[in-house]
C-alpha cells in the first residue's frame, strides 16, 4: 500500500514533527536545571568560594562511574558544622547528582561516591553550614565516554 498525502496532511504532519523535534532538542541545548537547584538549595543566597574541596579526576575515561570526593572544612561541633552538601552537574540531563546530610555525629564532613557524567562538564558542590552560610567549589571534568546511556 502506498501512502498518498494531500497538501493539508503534509503540512499538519510536518508541523507536528517540528513541534516534537523542538520539544526534544531544546532542553538538551539549554543548560539543565542545576542553576535552579542551587538557587533552591541556598534560598537565593550566593554561595562564597572556599572551604569546600571537590576531588574528581580531570579526565574521566568512563562517564558511567566517576569517583568523587567532597570534603568541607569545618570543626563539626554542635556550634559549627556542615549540615548539607549538594552536588550538581551542569551537563547531565538532570542537574542533581547527590546530596549528603551531615551532623556533628559525623565528626568530619567528608564523603565519597561514584557518579555518572553524560559529557564533559563542570561539577559544583555547595555546602550549607548550620549558621546559614553557603560555600561552594566547582571542578571541570573531561569525559571520554559518556554515561547516562547517552
Amino acid at each position: 500500500m502506498t501512502l498518498i498525502f494531500n497538501r493539508r496532511q503534509v503540512l499538519a504532519y510536518s508541523a507536528a514533527a517540528a513541534a516534537v523535534l523542538s520539544g526534544t532538542i531544546k532542553p538538551a541545548a539549554a543548560a539543565n536545571d542545576s542553576a535552579e537547584l542551587i538557587k533552591k538549595f541556598t534560598g537565593g543566597k550566593t554561595p562564597q568560594q572556599g572551604r569546600v574541596k571537590l576531588d574528581l579526576p580531570e579526565i574521566a575515561e568512563n562517564g558511567n562511574t566517576v569517583p568523587m570526593t567532597v570534603v568541607v572544612e569545618s570543626p563539626m561541633t554542635e556550634q559549627s558544622y556542615v549540615s548539607d552538601v549538594m552536588v550538581v552537574a551542569d551537563g547531565n540531563p538532570n542537574g542533581g547528582v547527590v546530596t549528603f546530610h551531615f551532623s556533628p555525629a559525623s565528626g568530619v564532613a567528608e564523603a565519597n561516591t561514584r557518579i555518572r557524567l553524560a559529557t564533559s562538564q563542570d561539577i559544583i558542590a555547595v555546602a550549607k553550614m548550620n549558621d546559614g552560610s553557603f560555600f561552594m567549589a566547582s571542578k571541570p571534568v573531561k569525559v571520554t565516554i559518556g554515561g547516562c546511556g547517552g
Binding site: H101, A105, G107, R114, C148
Partner: protein, 107 residues
C-alpha cells in the same frame, strides 16, 4: 534482595575517634534516560535515599539522583560515641529497603 557489602575500617575504636565506613550495594540504578531496543524509555528505578544510624541515631544520610552510578558505592566517616549497631539502609524508588548492619565496639 541484594546483600550490601559493608566495611568498617576498624571494629574497635576509642571514643571520639573517626570510623570510616565503605559500603557497596548491587543495584541497576536505572536512570530513566535510557531506551530499550524498541525505543521505549526504560522507567527510572534507583535507590534514592541512603541513611546510616548508630544505635538508631542518624549520623549520615544522602539523597541519590539518577546521576549516581550503578551499584552505588558510598564512603563516609562518623565519630565513635558508643558501642552498638551500625545500620545502613538504602531505599528504592518502589519503597523497598536494602538493609545491612555491622557492629562497633567503643572503648
Amino acid at each position: 534482595m541484594a546483600v550490601p557489602r559493608i566495611k568498617l575500617d576498624r571494629k574497635e575504636a576509642k571514643k571520639g575517634e573517626l570510623v570510616e565506613v565503605k559500603a557497596l550495594v548491587s543495584h541497576v540504578m536505572e536512570s530513566g534516560q535510557r531506551k530499550d531496543s524498541a525505543g521505549k524509555t526504560i522507567p527510572r528505578k534507583i535507590l534514592n535515599k541512603f541513611t546510616c544510624t548508630v544505635n538508631g541515631k542518624a549520623v549520615f544520610s544522602a539523597d541519590f539522583e539518577p546521576a549516581v552510578a550503578a551499584n552505588p558505592y558510598i564512603q563516609f566517616k562518623f565519630k565513635a560515641q558508643e558501642s552498638g549497631k551500625v545500620e545502613l539502609t538504602w531505599t528504592d524508588d518502589d519503597g523497598s529497603k536494602i538493609v545491612g548492619e555491622e557492629t562497633i565496639t567503643v572503648t
